[in-house]
């Protein structure tokens, strides 16, 4: 269940780069997910649903698969 750590890393990356400044909620996160990333999509969704962060309470995760090993945040929808 390292997907909880991954979810926290994603939020940390967004936070530290100022993308969450003034944001009340994030409705959607689009991720580029490599097949060798070692990350399970369903567990990552579960992790976001169970994080204690109200901004991500109703977030929808949208995945694009690729053949590599990286996980990249492509786009977010914020309110």
């Amino acid at each position: 269940m390292h997907e909880f750590s991954i979810a926290l890393e994603i939020i940390d990356t967004l936070q530290k780069n100022g993308y969450l400044d003034g944001v009340k909620s994030v409705s959607e996160v689009k991720l580029n997910l490599g097949k060798y990333s070692g990350i399970d999509k369903n567990y990552l969704v579960f992790a976001f649903q169970n994080l204690n962060d109200k901004r991500f309470k109703d977030v929808l995760l949208n995945f694009i698969s690729n053949n590599g090993d990286e996980i990249t945040i492509q786009e977010i929808l914020v309110n």
């Binding site: 750590s5 890393e9 994603i10 929808l60």
Partner: protein
């Protein structure tokens, strides 16, 4: 762009950043702190023999004049560190308290408590788990995946990330081959189908007589590989 059919309401922000960027920043700092030391991050399922391998190769490398430090990772207990302490090399135990992997931050904290300034080689033994540790860069020079022949030849296909991200695969406990149906050729074939560049070594920490004596010829090729990489890194840094 997000699929317009499923698109929710909101303001779109294009990000295009590594999702693990914060871990990467700390991993880069770790790499700088490692300095000239060649760092290997050992991944495997529990019980594959990571600690036994370290117990076997550290004395060989020490006797050849290499200075070594070890970072141990476990969910609970410092049992592995106690085993490494017997080798008289600096060691630090990270206890994750339930977390299934090491991340760069944990290793960074460990470096505050471990003397690595003269180290030529640093071994990091990750938490026993073939999935979770693969996602996190610790600042190492290479990942080494250890697969014991008791685990089955299909493991590279079932847990591909560990084999894709590693530069080396050790097929361990090779001394048990006479009493198992393991197919070493199949293990190699499966692993190379995931990562064609994997360097593969067959290793064992015991001989077939189960006397506990280390049969060094089953480790020599891997030890030589480590020495070559230590020297390669040192020469790159000098340049």
């Amino acid at each position: 762009m997000l699929n317009s059919n499923n698109r929710r309401a909101g303001r779109s922000l294009l990000i295009q950043r590594n999702a693990l960027e914060t871990n990467e920043v700390i991993a880069d700092k770790n790499k700088a702190l490692f300095g000239k030391a060649f760092v290997m991050n050992f991944l495997s399922s529990p019980g594959s023999g990571k600690t036994s391998l370290l117990e076997s190769i550290v004395p060989i490398l020490k006797s050849d004049g290499f200075k070594i430090a070890v970072i141990e990772g476990d969910v609970e207990t410092d049992l592995d560190k106690k085993r490494i302490d017997e080798l008289n090399v600096p060691a630090y135990q990270i206890i994750t308290n339930g977390t299934c992997h090491l991340d760069a931050k944990m290793v960074s904290a460990a470096l505050n408590n471990l003397d690595i300034k003269d180290a030529d080689i640093i071994f990091i033994e990750n938490v026993g788990n073939l999935v979770c540790p693969t996602s996190f860069n610790l600042g190492e020079d290479m990942k080494v995946v250890v697969l014991s022949i008791t685990e089955g030849d299909d493991k590279p296909l079932k847990y591909p990330a560990a084999f894709y991200k590693s530069k080396v695969m050790l097929i361990n406990k090779i001394d048990l081959l006479p009493v198992l149906d393991s197919d070493v050729a199949k293990i190699k074939e499966n692993a190379l189908s995931i990562n064609k560049d994997l360097a593969i070594f067959e290793t064992s920490c015991k001989n077939n007589l189960n006397s506990g004596e280390i049969k060094q010829d089953r480790l020599n090729d891997f030890v030589s590989f480590i020495k070559d990489n230590v020297n390669l890194k040192a020469s790159k840094i000098k340049k």
